[in-house]
Point group: C2
Chain length 283, copies 2
């Protein structure tokens, strides 16, 4: 499906490459969407593979690009990074802007089935299909893709990879919500977007998806041990149990003293980029 | 002068060291002040030297620590970084919060002589004397100091070093306001803080100070060529002329395509930290 070129809204040179922000009309969400793309210097002369980064609750496309320090490593390795927004914007649905963990900036990377959310909150289609097609049409990139994210976006990265065998060369996550069907953040979001039928939630839960994963991509997951959300919301032990049961390769690294912040992400993003670079064939 | 211990208000592990924010009552400003300190892992076992970072207009202690990516290199080299705020806070002087380039977040690192600013806007004394004394009393650091900064803070770093021979082992700046007595930002700030007598401004202008500098520290200055403020406010050519006239060593690097943002700072901060590390004896 051919899409109109997105409109450039900002541009900054960074580590000899370019960080650019664009807006475009999204059929998936029925709204204007903003995304950021970092094009490393190598993209000036040849197509490069792409890492998709999915951010967490309250974020936009900007947090990761401003705080993670990833551009330095992407510039060395020759990987583009695309950071979408975390929800549709510009709508004003009932309650959409009332809480930090539902509605705006909290799309949870699902396709909503419940009114009024289903008209716009289709972030899964947006990040797995529409946005990659747009990027691959309009930017100097290959069709080699990796995916990563933080917290809600770590959940997003895991489910996007697990639900789409062959689409991503590699996946990783920082402090992911591993088991949204069994934690307060997930229960709130999935009830709102998908309704009360908890069976329908399982298609969006990485622990559930791992049991039947066709493709067993190595999962690299970093989790801070001083993360305030560890026990109640993130539950790395649930992911570990699901991977053990399904013999799914998991590299879960518990990092002593680290919290849920971007300072934690910045500390380990280089390891993740090198993990992806290897799978993308650019290490 | 012994000072009470500052009060910890936030703490994040970062690159195996700790980023901490503190507040304390400042005699120099007569207000509570907040600063950030990054303590690299080496500080857990031995005192480390300190780089003071002075931020630009609109910033707080947080911008540099969140956006520059400096902790990675500081952790490697074993350098602490201290980032003060850019003005007193919590006061409500006439017009103090009306513009981005005067008053709050725009202290310009001078000691004000004009009412009502002189009671609080003594950021020069704060960053050159009070804060280093506090840091050296309460943290595991040596008395080896370096100083750097961006824009208004680049001006601050240059004048702090030039006015205090022997106090800093090294100095650098990103896109500094080199000649505040001859640019709109500087003229507005210096008129407000120091009054109409332009002769009194010269003690706070790096181009003026270089003519009589007792100590000729090598100046490392990076300047983006696509910086929107280059011609009107920053004037690297004025610094270059002053250094040439005084035979003062200047390494002015004009960086094609780079703008005034933290993406520019992030791209070159490693060079600056290595410059300081050499002078601080930790490279």
């Amino acid at each position: 499906m051919s899409q109109a070129a997105p409109e450039l809204i900002a541009s900054n040179k960074c580590f000899d490459g370019w960080l650019k922000r664009y807006k475009h009309l999204s059929p998936a969400t029925g709204t204007e969407m903003i995304f950021a793309i970092y094009l490393p210097p190598q993209a000036q002369t040849q197509p490069v593979p792409v890492l998709y980064w999915l951010s967490g609750l309250t974020c936009t496309d900007e947090n990761f690009m401003q705080k993670a320090g990833a551009q330095r490593i992407a510039a060395e390795l020759g990987i583009a990074i695309v950071a979408p927004d975390t929800s549709p914007r510009g709508t004003d649905l009932p309650g959409e802007h009332d809480s930090y963990d539902f509605g705006s900036a909290a799309g949870f990377y699902v396709n909503a089935t419940q009114e009024p959310w289903s008209a716009h909150y289709n972030m899964y289609d947006y990040v797995t299909a529409e946005l990659p097609a747009l990027i691959e049409q309009h930017f100097p990139v290959t069709d080699k893709r990796a995916i990563s994210g933080h917290s809600m976006g770590g959940h997003g990265a895991l489910i996007c990879a697990l639900k789409n065998p062959g689409r991503y060369a590699s996946v990783s996550a920082f402090a992911p919500i591993t088991n949204p069907i069994n934690c307060p953040w997930g229960e709130k979001a999935l009830t709102g977007y998908l309704g009360e039928d908890r069976e329908s939630w399982k298609a969006w839960d990485s622990c559930e998806l791992i049991a039947n994963a066709e493709e067993k991509l190595h999962l690299l997951v970093d989790q801070g041990e001083a993360d305030d959300f560890l026990a109640e919301q993130l539950k790395p032990e649930a992911l570990q149990a699901a991977c053990e049961a399904a013999n799914h390769p998991l590299e879960l690294r518990l990092q002593p003293g680290y919290d849920h912040s971007y300072f934690f992400i910045a500390s380990f993003i280089e390891d993740h980029l090198r993990h992806h670079a290897k799978a993308l064939g650019v290490s």
